[in-house]
Amino acid sequence: MITPAHNPDKRLVGKQAEWQTWREESAVSRSVWLATFGAFALVLALIGAPYLALARTSFYGFDPVTQTYGTTLTLDHYRAFVDGSGYRAALGRSLQVSLWVTVSCFVLGFPVAYVMARAGRHLRTLLFVVVVSSLTINVVVRTFAWLIILAQNGPVNALLELVGLGPVRWLFNSTGVTIGLVHVLLPYMVLPLYSALISIPSTLEEAAMSLGAAPSVAFWRVVLPLTTPGIIAGATMVFTLAISSYVTPAVLGGGTYPVLTMLAADEILISLNFPRGSALAIVLVLVTLICLWCGQVIAVRARIQRG
């Protein structure tokens, strides 16, 4: 993510040479060495260690009567995840909703990013303000807004009844959760797409069209392939955020549509079963990491393909 601003040639030198230089230079500036050490100590104690402790707790046994956990190691909680259909079903729901949310965000977000990249200054600023402000408005606030809009006797159903399509059950199922999450996560798709699109000169499209390609062909064969890095970045971001979301599924899905994050939170906050909750959290981390890794692999493949 960060490349050294100074001396870019340094990356060409081998790892060993890099260490060598660093050691020589750090002999001069001991403060840098001290600062690195301090930063690492701080970051490890505050960030790294809690995650490691979490992983360890997930292997401890739990006594539901005394609500305490011992230090004997066991695989019970992971076994419960594999055997118990409840947890697997919850993971399935999480994956399904996240997939739908990602696809919807792409379909809705692409035109917005495209218009932002190709429009004049005023329209671009306006769209930017709308997208960013929706990014910064509290998720709890936005989720309760959808509770009002999609309610059984809410405005959407009132409109549908007017045209005779009857009240639709929007809430406490995957539909409500998907709509709420698309609203929350759309900016995370639009912004990387916009970054990718703005770097494609519009002259490329014009060149394709002046050579006889229809606008839709120019779009499919020229613009879309060049946007691939943005699409992958946006899609991984939206998918991982969707699968780890808690507030939106808890309010709009409720107890009738439990996803994995809700079960994990309930284990900790209600059952006080820290080991079980930790195991579910670890599963969630693994799913997230696999998803990020897949995104990386696809991104690399796409880069190779384009040569």
Binding site: V32, L46, V140
Partner: protein, 266 residues
């Protein structure tokens, strides 16, 4: 061909218009429903009254929650800025070997990548083990972890574009290292600092999931609002939500005057 082209552009514009409506709709509904004279939340609102705002401001639980949220966001932002500038300086100028730089950066950024619910569960166990449990200290530490990635990201970006020759010039003219840093470097990276501080403040003020695990016996505003709405879903909820929306917009407008947010988001 020209016709086809404008047709394509018009269809893109139409979808964009619909998406903008979709994004704005919930905000309109929340604000509108806060003025209804009805006792249940509905949209479009019936009549006009400000009594839900009166009721919202009179709730002691909400006052306390707002106080805690503002205090927490302020402290977390200040601590994050101090640590974040140090970390960014180390990452950009430290000339660290790529392994060390990479792992340091990965650790700092991990709370923004790992699901927040995991961070919450991990932190509360860790804090209980360290005997600081549900204290204000653990709340602040938790929020610093959450806000640090925002500060580091924007400050690193600002450091990368800062011309270090300005600093060298100050030093060659007789300024000490510290003096040069204070009077030349810090003002130079100010846009990054302001953007980072704004994101950090909002991230802390709006946080729900990690905070949920770290508070007991008191609430931050998002949690108080959530609990209140779960019990009594009346227009007071919309009134509180409207106040939060307006506060956020004011903060964004203020920040927009001091920095170009676009460079730090996209």
């Amino acid at each position: 061909m020209e016709q086809q082209r404008s047709l394509f552009w018009i269809s893109m514009l139409t979808v964009t218009g619909l998406v903008v409506a979709f994004l704005v709709l919930p905000l309109v509904v929340i604000m509108g429903s806060s003025f209804t004279t009805d006792v249940v939340v509905d949209f479009p609102p019936r009549g006009f009254t400000l009594r839900w705002y009166e009721k919202a401001f009179a709730l002691t639980k909400m006052q306390e929650a707002l106080g805690l949220s503002l205090w927490l966001a302020f402290l977390a932002t200040v601590v994050s800025l101090v640590i974040g500038v140090g970390c960014a300086l180390l990452l950009v100028r430290g000339q660290l070997p790529s392994v060390i730089r990479g792992s340091l950066e990965a650790l700092i950024m991990s709370p923004s990548i790992i699901p927040q619910i995991v961070t919450g569960v991990a932190l509360i166990q860790w804090f209980i083990a360290w005997q600081i449990g549900f204290s204000t200290t653990s709340l602040i530490l938790g929020h610093v972890l959450l806000t640090l990635p925002f500060v580091v990201r924007t400050t690193v970006a600002a450091f990368m574009t800062f011309d270090t020759r300005l600093e060298d010039a100050a030093i060659s003219l007789g300024a000490t290292r510290w003096r040069a840093f204070w009077s030349i470097t810090l003002p130079g990276i100010r846009p990054g600092l302001v953007a980072g501080a704004a994101f950090a403040f909002l991230a802390s003020f709006d946080n729900f999931v990690v905070t949920l695990f770290l508070v007991r016996g008191r609430d931050t505003l998002p949690i108080a609002l959530y609990n209140y709405a779960q019990n009594i879903f009346e227009p007071t909820v919309s009134a509180i939500a409207t106040v939060i929306i307006i506060g956020t917009v004011i903060l964004l407008v203020l920040v927009k005057g001091a920095t170009d947010l676009e460079t730090f988001i996209a």
